[in-house]
Amino acid sequence: MAEVETRQRSQVWWAVAGVAVVVVLGALTRYLEQNVPVFTKGTWLGGIAKSVEYPVYAILLGLLGNAVLTGLGFRDKLAAGFRTEFFIKTGLVLLGASINFAVIVKAAGPAIAQAFLLITLVFGFTWWLGGKLGVDSKLRALLASAVSICGVSAAIAAAGAVQARREQLAYTASLVIIFALPSIFLLPLAVDALGLSPAVAGAWIGGNIDTTAAVSAAGALVGEEALQIATIVKTTQNALLGVVAVALTAYFALKVERTGEAKVSGKALWERFPKFVLGFLAASIIATIFLESGGDKAAITTVNDLRTLFLILAFVSIGLEFKVAPLREAGWKPIGVFASAAVFNLLVGLGLASILFSGFNG
C-alpha cells in the first residue's frame, strides 16, 4: 500500500516537472518570437526572422526538447505533464472572446454542413478502405474517427466506445501527430500557392488537419481571420464527436460484438460532448456583450495575449509528444489507410470549403 502511494506521489512530481518543462520552453518561444526579429534587423536573416511566427518556434523547441529528454531518458516519465489538450482547449475558449458572436452565427450554417459532409465521407472512406485491407475493426474505428473528426480526442472517445486496446489508441495518437506536424507548415504554403481567401483557407485547414492544436497552429500561420474560421469549423467537428462516439458504441454492440447491449441515451451523448465548445461559445457571447455595452477594447487585447500563451504551451507540447516508436509494431496497412484517408480528406475538404465558404464575409 505504502509502495503504491510512493509510486503515485512520484508520478505526480514527474507530471509537475513535465508541465514546468512545457512552461520553460513556452517562455523561450515568447522570448525568441519577440527578440529574434530585433536581433537580426538589418542582416540577411532579418526578412526571414520577421515572417517566422510563434507556432514555428514553439513546435521546433518542443521537438528539440523531445530529442534532448529522450536522450537523457526522462521523456516518458515527464510525458504526463505534456497536456496538449488542456492547453489548446483553454486557448480556444479564450479565442472565443476575440470572435464576435454574429460571426459564429453566420459561419454556423456552412460550418455544420461542411463538418457533417466531411465526417460522413471521410469516416466512410477510411472504414471502407480499412476493411478492404483487412485492418482490425476496432483499429479501423479509431483511425476513421481520428482522421474524420478531431484527432487524438476523437480517438480517445472512439476507443472508449468500441473498447479498443491501449496500444491501438497509442498507435492512432502517434499517427495523428506524425501527420499533423507537416500539415501545419504545408497547408499554409498550399493556401498561398492556391491563392485561397482567408475564409476558404480557414475552412480547409479546420476541416482537414486532424488535431485541434495543429489546426490552430496552421490557422495562426495564415492569419487572424483564417484562424477564427478554422477554429469555428474545427469546434463544430468537435461538437459532433459525441454523436459519432454514441453511434460507434451502438454499432459495435449490435453488429460487431453482437452483445445486444447498446447504450444510446441522452446521458451518453452529453458525457461525450466536448464541454470546451460551450466555453468557446460563452466567451464569444460574453465578449460581444462586453464590447457592445462600451467595454474597453484593451481588455480583449489582453485576452488575446493570454490566448497566445496557451496556444504556445499547446504547440510546445505537440513537439514534446511526438513519438514514432508505436508505429513500428502495427505494420504498414494502418499507415496506408491513414495516409489515403488524409489525402481523401484534403481533396474533399478543399472542394467543400471552396463551395461553402467562397462568398463568406465575416
Binding site: 488542456f86 472508449g160 486496446r165 489582453t302
Partner: protein
C-alpha cells in the same frame, strides 16, 4: 492495469481536462474583463 482500464483512464482524464480547460478559460476571461488581471501582467 489491463489494456481496457488504460483506455478508461485516458477517457476519464480527457473528460476532466475538457471541463478544467473550459473553467480555466472562462475564469481568466472574467478576471481580465473585471480588471483583476491587467495587461502588463501578461507577458
Amino acid at each position: 492495469m489491463s489494456a481496457e482500464d488504460g483506455v478508461g483512464r485516458e477517457r476519464k482524464l480527457a473528460l476532466n481536462e475538457d471541463w478544467a480547460a473550459t473553467i480555466a478559460g472562462l475564469v481568466l476571461l472574467g478576471l481580465v474583463l473585471v480588471g483583476a488581471l491587467p495587461g502588463w501582467l501578461v507577458p
